[in-house]
Amino acid sequence: MEITLPPVDLGAITPELIVTGTALVILLVDLFLPRDRKTPLAYLSLLGLVLAFAASLPLWGRARYAFKESISLDPFSLFFSSLFLLIAALTILISTNYLEREEIHRGEYYALLLFATLGMMLLAKGMDLVVLFLGLETLSISLYTLAGFMRARLRSNESALKYLLLGAFASGFLLYGIAFLYGATGTTNLKKVAVFLGKGAPLSDPFLFIGAGLLIVGFGFKVATVPFHMWAPDVYEGAPTSVTAFMIAGTKAAAFSAFLRIFLYSLAPLKPNWSAVLWVLAVLTMTLGNVVAIAQQNIKRMLAYSSIAHAGYILVAVVAGGELGGSSILFYLLAYALMNLGAFAVVILLGQKGEENLNLPDYAGVGYRHPLPALAMAIFMFSLAGIPPTAGFMGKFYVFSAAVKAGYIGLAIIGVLNSVVSVFFYLRVTVMMYMREPRAEVGPIYTSPALAAALVIAVWGTLQLGLFPGRLLELALRSIRPLLG
């Protein structure tokens, strides 16, 4: 039997190949390192991420498809790939310190982190629902393990188990949705789906609606929108703090990248139908996330609810759609990643062995004892609350103005009101740090050059995007255009 192999365009997946290769090398090198000295692996994985980023730069030239149109190399996917590489690099920078303090001496940590990054990159590049699903599973399976990495801690086990059970459930919904979409359109290729729906195919096909609905449920689980958010606080609280940072910043961006490609591009003809559903989800998600965050005493839990609320703001932009809405999502996701990773870097810095020192009262007087980390934390909290001149403010500004321009004035008003509510619990952290007497003596904090570098990058990025957002917004506009056709 004759098999004609299609042209294998390895150039198109060089960044992914480098990330995978680095992960494999780490698994091997790990064998030759002494048990309690795994930090060199962190630098090895950083090197891999930088190389992958460098390899992705020449791909920006012209948009093209590869592997029989199963992946797409357009500015959209490259924007997200770069974002994921940045998130992974910052996560590794904040991990070394933390892993040493918590005595997690396992090289596989870095390999799994890189596998997860690979999954995220495939989610952004995938043009075929099969690739998207496999990317999502690669990401999820790595994260299930990472969440349970502190095996001796009950909460870490709980986190991994809850994430596994609900994540598998969500994957089931997603797969079912993919099957229905395939049933309705006869293809799993997103480009062909778009063509099929674009040339006047009957849009009243119930299978199409069931498929789109199940996809919303599946992705809703992954990005933790209400009412599919139940797992998020427990999982985020129980997972090792560096993994929580990675999940909050990375998983959300990755799931949104695939979500946008499916809904803004392939299912664009159905927009009147799905945007009505997302409108409701956005309102519920913003409101519940912000209101429940007020009651939280544990800082990881508070940031978990805050991440739910932020998913709601991003849904506002998805509902708005168009060039403005789409580009504001890309901008928002970068700003969101920087300020969350930064905030978690401070949480790690101020934490004590055994995941201690994570409650709000523990932050009393930090502003006097550790002025620089406190200043950084204050900047991230201002940014999360959306106060100028920070990235968070510009992000919210673009999202809400996109909603107003698209005619969703009610939604924008609800969003702004929610932002006002959120100021309360973000600023409470700042008030604690600067206006309360320090508590009884806690142990010294350990810093490392890597953690300091991550903090500097996050602070710089947060302020840079807040003061000079123009260039990134232009890039975001350029990146979203290929999706909108």
């Binding site: 039997m1 098999i3 004609t4 192999l5 299609p6 294998v8 997946i13 995978t20 698994l27 592997f67 029989k68 199963s70 992946i71 396992r106 596989e108 390999a111 799994l112 596998f115 690979l118 999954g119 495939l122 075929d128 099969v130 690739v131 496999l134 990317g135 599973e137 690669t138 399976i141 790595s142 299930y144 393990t145 349970g148 990495f149 095996r151 991994a160 395939y182 049933g183 309705a184 359109t185 006869g186 096909d205 299978f207």
Partner: protein, 165 residues
């Protein structure tokens, strides 16, 4: 009149009968073994539908993998799975409602048919076709699946390995 119809009824009876034992049986080991039978029945139905690949996968994964896993789970949790477990609980009505709803939904779907898939039934053997597609159009997902399995393997080792210290 072909031989297919009686064979279909035979396989369907085996599948449904075994499935009923799975749900209603009191001894959980018996349930697990009837599950094997039910899976075999479904595999037979796949063969009848000219889906040999699906039949082979059904036997390999469900009969070979999942049932063995189930039996291991029963073996390791013997206390919780002894004979004489209650079969029905107070949620009977609710689950009957959901199962009935799903049944009618599937009947409706079958009755309406899936238009986009009603194109043509491939007549040639589908194992070589699937193999060829996997190695050509879907070669990238095929390779990604191997990375996925590696990540799962590493993850399982991490979580299950005994600490040395």
């Amino acid at each position: 009149m072909s031989i297919e119809l009686p064979v279909f009824y035979f396989l369907a009876a085996i599948t449904i009968g075994a499935a009923l034992i799975v749900v209603l049986g009191r001894n959980i080991v018996h349930c697990a073994f009837s599950l094997v039978l039910a899976f075999f029945g479904v595999a037979g139905l796949y063969v009848l539908l000219d889906a040999e690949f699906l039949a082979a996968v059904q036997v390999l994964i469900y009969v070979g993998g999942i049932t063995i896993l189930l039996l291991f789970a029963i073996m390791l949790t013997s206390r919780a799975s002894g004979p004489g477990v209650r079969i029905l609980n107070e949620q009977l009505g609710l689950s009957a409602l959901i199962a009935g709803g799903l049944f009618f939904l599937l009947i409706y779907a079958l009755w309406k048919g899936i238009p986009a898939l009603a194109i043509k039934v491939p007549t040639q053997a589908n194992v070589p076709t699937i193999g060829r597609v996997l190695m050509t159009s879907y070669v990238l997902p095929f390779e990604v699946a191997s990375v996925l399995l590696l990540a799962a393997l590493v993850g399982a080792l991490i979580l299950a390995r005994k600490e040395k210290d």
